[in-house]
């Protein structure tokens, strides 16, 4: 039971991270902006969460309720990266792929560059020169089914459900989707496309920041990169066909694989660990192969919006 418990615990946390990352991609892509830079944004989010969760920030060992404030602050601060992406994609009409690549590179580089200095500053006495999560004492990641990672998972699931209802059932959400499908039609209605896109990218970066913050629960010491979870969440977004329920399901599946790779579950069956790591990507490719023709993606994603075009 202990083995299974730790596996489930880890997979809950992974699901939360991946779901948050995939929702980040979902939010921006529904408004027509491709966000390839989830990975970079997650790196920066992890960095910020390291700052806001530290004892140096709270002036003592942080109490449990402050975790909400810390995560919110992380989300707000990660919006800087989102603003960078939005400015370049929306106003300068740059290629979204180039911008996303740049965000990835910048995020990863900044996180790795600032990591040791910040750690030295935040934990003056410690020998460890890596950022870490200091909530682990009050939020135990125990090898049990009903650990704190279940709470995190439920919270992120609630966010996902909320996003699903807002996007699919409310006026604002439908407008939001329309921006991704046909912004010129939205513009013709007198609705500001730029505003919606800005909000989308900022929310997306906030979600990525949340994912990065949650990632810090998983590792004991932040290395500067998020172990390609950003790319994996992109894969989930694509496999899930840009629909929230499917995304949630695939997040759980991928998280299970990823969590199982860390344990001895598969190696006991004779499957190497590296193959397990690669399985989510292979699944994505296969799903792409079968659903590529249908083009489930928002029609106008990746194309800069221009008012003059019909």
């Amino acid at each position: 039971m202990g083995d299974l418990g730790s596996l489930l615990d880890l997979s809950f946390l992974f699901t939360a991270i991946l779901l948050a990352g995939a929702l980040s991609g979902y939010l921006s892509e529904r408004a027509g902006i491709v966000n390839l830079g989830i990975d970079g944004m997650m790196c920066v989010g992890a960095l910020f969460f390291g700052i806001f969760s530290s004892t140096a920030f709270w002036g003592g060992v942080p109490a449990f309720p402050t975790i909400i404030i810390a995560l919110l602050l992380t989300m707000i601060c990660t919006m800087i990266m989102g603003a960078m992406h939005a400015f370049v994609c929306i106003h300068l009409k740059a290629d979204h792929t180039i911008a996303g690549t740049a965000i990835n590179l910048v995020g990863l580089a900044l996180a790795t560059f600032l990591n040791p200095t910040l750690a030295r500053y935040l934990y003056p006495g410690a020998s460890n020169s890596r950022i870490m999560c200091q909530y682990s004492s009050c939020l135990p990641m125990g090898p049990s089914l009903f650990g704190s990672s279940l709470i995190i998972f439920l919270v992120v699931l609630a966010i996902a459900i909320a996003i699903f209802f807002v996007v699919n059932k409310t006026k604002v959400g439908l407008r939001f989707r329309a921006v991704g499908e046909n912004p010129n039609a939205v513009d013709a209605q007198g609705i500001s496309v730029f505003k919606y896109q800005w909000v989308a990218v900022l929310l997306s970066s906030a979600m990525a920041g949340l994912a990065g913050g949650l990632f810090l629960f998983k590792v004991t010491a932040f290395n500067g990169d998020v172990q390609s979870l950003g790319y994996l969440s992109l894969a989930i977004l694509i496999t899930g066909g840009w629909r929230v329920p499917k995304i949630t399901i695939f997040a759980i599946v991928f998280a299970l694989f990823n969590a199982a790779a860390g344990t001895t579950t598969f190696t006991q069956l004779g499957i190497p660990q590296l193959v397990v790591f690669a399985i989510p990507y292979i699944i994505t490719l296969i799903v792409l192969l079968f659903s590529g023709r249908k083009s489930l993606a928002p029609a106008h994603s990746g194309i800069p919006f221009e008012k003059g075009m019909r």
Partner: protein, 860 residues
């Protein structure tokens, strides 16, 4: 809808500031290069700022920059620098080739790893000899890279799967699989070093300072191939077309899917080369571990290079040199307590700059370049230029600086005026003057008084004096410059108009008066509107200055004239004539007589111009009609019409000479004769004037000759007297001398001396008189000669005119004769024709009669 799409950023910039900063020119190569340099520079600066703030090493900022630029060129790092450069270049080329075909190959790293892994594996298993396997490794690696890339391309082409997504997936799959394969393959080789082993270390050319040249050669060959293929082959051009417009390539009949797959495959092949270069040439092992979960960054660095070099294979060389400089300086920077990931930060920000390249492309930092090119004071002068809207051409930097001084003085005065308040009693005075000016009447005297009180106390007076001083100086300078450069004049351009020196000097002189100068500036500001007609500030009225049109009538230019109402036209004529008349008559009035003369000139000019303008308006209305709908008369004068008008004018002038009336002259002849007639009239006047002058000179010479005669006579008389005196003295000296006689002798000698002096004086006077007389006579002769020459020329001209006229008349006669001859010939022909017709009719009649007799009336 707006046809040219603009981003919100551009629209928001659409104010005065945008004019200085924003430009729509994007296509020029220099601009692209400058934008790239600017992006790199900005990224560099930002990264340095981040590094300095993080490590709290602001005092070491200069040292850091110095290290980055210099440490790569040390002997120990030289190899690393250039091999890094080669690797970056090849990565960039791989990206560029796919990007030119519209494919964003983010999987360079994966393809590279795949190629290197496959090559290593096969060579390791096969155990090939060390001489041959270098090329085999290369080929296998290229093939494997191309295979994976081609799969991505095929997915894109046939299933429309986004190449970015699929290549990211492939990246990770390849990464994990290659670690697995390499690990298992290396077990027999070296079990202790599973993941970081590269069995080819001993097989291919070694790095460590030995295989720099092969790397550079490979990079060079690839640069040449990519540049040539993309720019000078049909294949490459087709790739680029596919990249620019998919539908366009389809319409042109290209096999778009094959093109996509081919370009991706070539990109993958280059990535394979990159893998060999890195893992077999540069570093002796492959640092991939399962735990790190980090794909090698070299592929992403290649993307950075490709993006920042704007997808130009040649530009990727300097860019990658810069990148490798940053990369190799990392180990030296660690001594300065800076983390070795600073190079990644710089790369990342540079790529972000590449994404935001539109920002740098639209920058227009021309004020910087102009300052460098034209000299220090130009940007200061520019302000003035903007104010007056004058483009000062042909001014040197020194002249610019003088003008700037002059402007600065004015500004200083303004500042003084604004900062220091005038004393209360003066303010009251000015206020009272204002009140009187506004309330009572707008009398000019009052205005002058008010302005004077203001001027005296506000420092404007000094400004005026300084202006006068400067203008005088400036005039002298300019004249000197003209002499030095051997030019006839200088000019200033006001928008489209060109003001020549005399006009402008008048304006500059006027500008010394403060009020006038303000008006002048306003005028020059409004000079953009092509025609200066301020009295009607009505936007629909754009009248042509008719006077200038009249002046330009002879040049035969075309004008577009738009007139709305006649009364406005007359008013305009009035204003123009007033100006003209003032410029003629009232410019320099000194005496009452002159003033009267000027008045008469004024009225004459007014009448004349008014008539001209009216007449031309009437002709315009007659010839071109009025557009009723618009209530605007649209007129376009073509050169032919202007020419006829000119010719009529000339005919009138020529017909004033008696014998030329009704002379049949052609247009060219008319022009020639016109010139000759004007010359003859000029010569005639010259002859008359100089003849009169000659006569007057002769008259003036006569009294001097008389004076000369008189003086010579006087001198002779005096000489006789002197002779008598000397005789007396001689007698007295020869005779017996008494002491009492000595004073008498002395006196006589003195008298003789005086007479002597007088003689010389009179002689001199006589000579002077003679010379002056002679001078007048000479002038007279000279004038006579001139008269003779002029008469000769006049006669020549007259003869020419006569010959032209004769020729014209002869021509006319000839034409007449020819016409007559032609008429005669035509008449003869017509007669012949008539005769023939009559004969034919007769024949027909006879034939018909004959047929009637034969009982066949229908046969003709």
């Amino acid at each position: 809808m707006n046809s040219s799409p603009k981003s919100l950023f551009q629209i928001k910039l659409n104010n005065k500031w945008q004019k200085f900063v924003h430009s729509d020119v994007r296509q020029s190569t220099t601009k692209k290069i400058l934008a790239t340099i600017a992006a790199i520079f900005a990224a560099f600066v930002i990264a340095i700022i981040i590094a300095c703030t993080v490590s709290k090493a602001w005092d070491k900022a200069g040292q850091i920059i110095g290290t980055i630029f210099s440490s790569g060129f040390q002997d120990k790092y030289l190899n690393t620098l250039f091999s890094n450069m080669a690797i970056l270049v090849v990565g960039g080329l791989s990206f560029i080739f796919a990007y030119k075909a519209g494919l964003f190959n983010i999987g360079i790293s994966g393809q590279m790893v795949a190629g290197a892994t496959g090559a290593t594996l096969i060579c390791h298993l096969a155990g090939l000899p060390s001489g041959a396997n270098q090329f085999i490794i290369l080929i296998i690696s290229m093939c494997l890279g191309a295979l994976f890339a081609a799969i991505v391309g095929a997915l894109k082409a046939y299933l429309k799967i986004n190449e970015v997504v699929s290549s990211i997936m492939f990246n990770w799959i390849i990464y994990f699989m290659s670690i697995l394969i390499l690990g298992s393959a290396a077990i027999p080789h070296d079990a202790s070093n599973l993941n970081t082993d590269a069995p080819v270390d001993s097989l291919l050319f070694r790095m460590n300072g030995e295989s720099l040249i092969p790397l550079l050669i490979m990079a060079g060959i690839l640069i040449a191939i990519v540049a040539l293929v993309l720019n000078y082959t049909v294949f490459g051009r087709k790739q680029r077309v596919t990249g620019l417009s998919n539908s366009g390539a389809l319409a042109a009949g290209y096999n778009v899917k094959a093109n996509m797959i081919a370009s991706m495959a070539i990109s993958g092949a280059i990535a394979g080369v990159l893998g060999v270069m890195i893992y077999c040439g540069f570093s002796p092992n492959m640092p991939v571990t399962a735990a790190a979960k980090a794909i090698p960054q070299d592929g992403f660095n290649g993307i950075s290079v490709g993006l920042i070099s704007m997808c130009s294979p040649l530009a990727s060389v300097p860019v990658s040199l810069f990148f490798s400089m940053v990369k190799t300086s990392v180990s030296d920077l660690q001594i300065l307590n800076i983390d070795n990931h600073i190079s990644d930060v710089i790369f990342g920000i540079v790529v972000y700059g590449a994404a935001a390249i539109a920002l740098f492309l639209n920058l227009k930092p021309y004020w910087l370049t102009l300052d460098i090119v034209r000299g220090k004071n130009y940007s200061k002068i520019k302000h003035e230029r903007n104010m007056t809207n004058i483009e000062l051409l042909s001014l040197s930097t020194d002249q610019c600086s003088i003008l700037h001084k002059y402007y600065a003085f004015y500004q200083k005065q303004q500042r003084i005026r604004s900062t220091y308040k005038l004393p209360w009693y003066i303010r009251v005075k000015i206020w009272w003057a204002n009140v009187r000016y506004w309330v009572v009447t707008k009398q000019s005297q009052l205005r002058i008084k008010r302005n004077k009180t203001k001027d005296v106390y506000s420092g404007k007076l000094y400004y005026k004096q300084e202006m006068v001083h400067l203008v005088v100086n400036r005039h002298e300078e300019l004249v000197a410059d003209l002499k030095q450069e051997k030019r006839s004049g200088w000019y200033v351009k006001v928008s489209d108009k060109v003001l020549t020196s005399p006009d402008l000097f008048k304006k500059v002189k006027d500008a010394t008066d403060f009020a006038v100068s303000q008006e002048l500036m306003k005028d020059l500001q409004k000079a953009n509107e092509e025609f200066k007609l301020h009295p009607f500030s009505d936007h629909e009225i754009r009248l042509v200055p008719l006077l200038s049109y009249l002046q330009n009538l002879r040049t035969g230019l075309t004008y577009r004239i738009e007139i709305s109402k006649q009364n406005k036209l007359t008013y305009f004529a009035l204003m123009q004539t007033k100006e003209q008349a003032e410029s003629i008559g009232l410019a320099e009035i000194r005496s009452k007589k002159q003033y009267e003369f000027a008045r008469s000139v004024y009225f004459k000019a007014y009448q004349k111009t008014y008539d001209l303008v009216k007449r031309h308006y009437d002709t315009m209305v007659k010839t071109f009609g009025r557009d009723k709908q618009l209530n605007i008369l649209g007129v376009r004068f073509n050169p032919a019409v202007l020419n006829t008008l000119y010719m009529n004018n000339l005919k009138k002038e020529i017909s004033s000479i008696g014998h030329l009336i009704n002379c049949p002259l052609s247009k060219a002849q008319l022009r020639e004769v016109g010139a000759l007639v004007s010359e003859t009239t000029y010569l005639q006047s010259k002859i008359e004037s100089s003849g009169a002058q000659a006569i007057s000179f002769r008259k003036m010479a006569q009294p001097y000759f008389e004076k000369n005669k008189k003086l010579t006579k006087e001198a002779e008389e005096q000489y006789l007297e002197l002779k008598a005196k000397t005789k007396k003295i001689n007698q007295m000296v020869n005779g017996p001398l008494a002491s009492a006689q000595l004073p008498a002798i002395n006196e006589l000698i003195q008298q003789a001396d005086e007479i002597n002096i007088a003689i010389t004086n009179t002689k001199v006077d006589a000579a002077d008189a003679r010379d002056t007389g002679q001078g007048y006579i000479d002038r007279c002769k000279q004038l006579n000669d001139e008269v003779a020459e002029a008469t000769q020329r006049r006669d020549n001209a007259n003869r020419k005119i006569a010959s032209i006229v004769e020729k014209a008349r002869n021509d006319e006669q000839n034409i007449k004769q020819q016409k007559f001859e032609a008429q005669r010939l035509a008449n003869e022909k017509a007669e012949r024709e008539l005769r023939r017709l009559a004969e034919r009719r007769a024949r027909k009649k006879a034939h018909n009669a004959k047929a009637m007799k034969g009982g066949q009336p229908w046969a003709i």
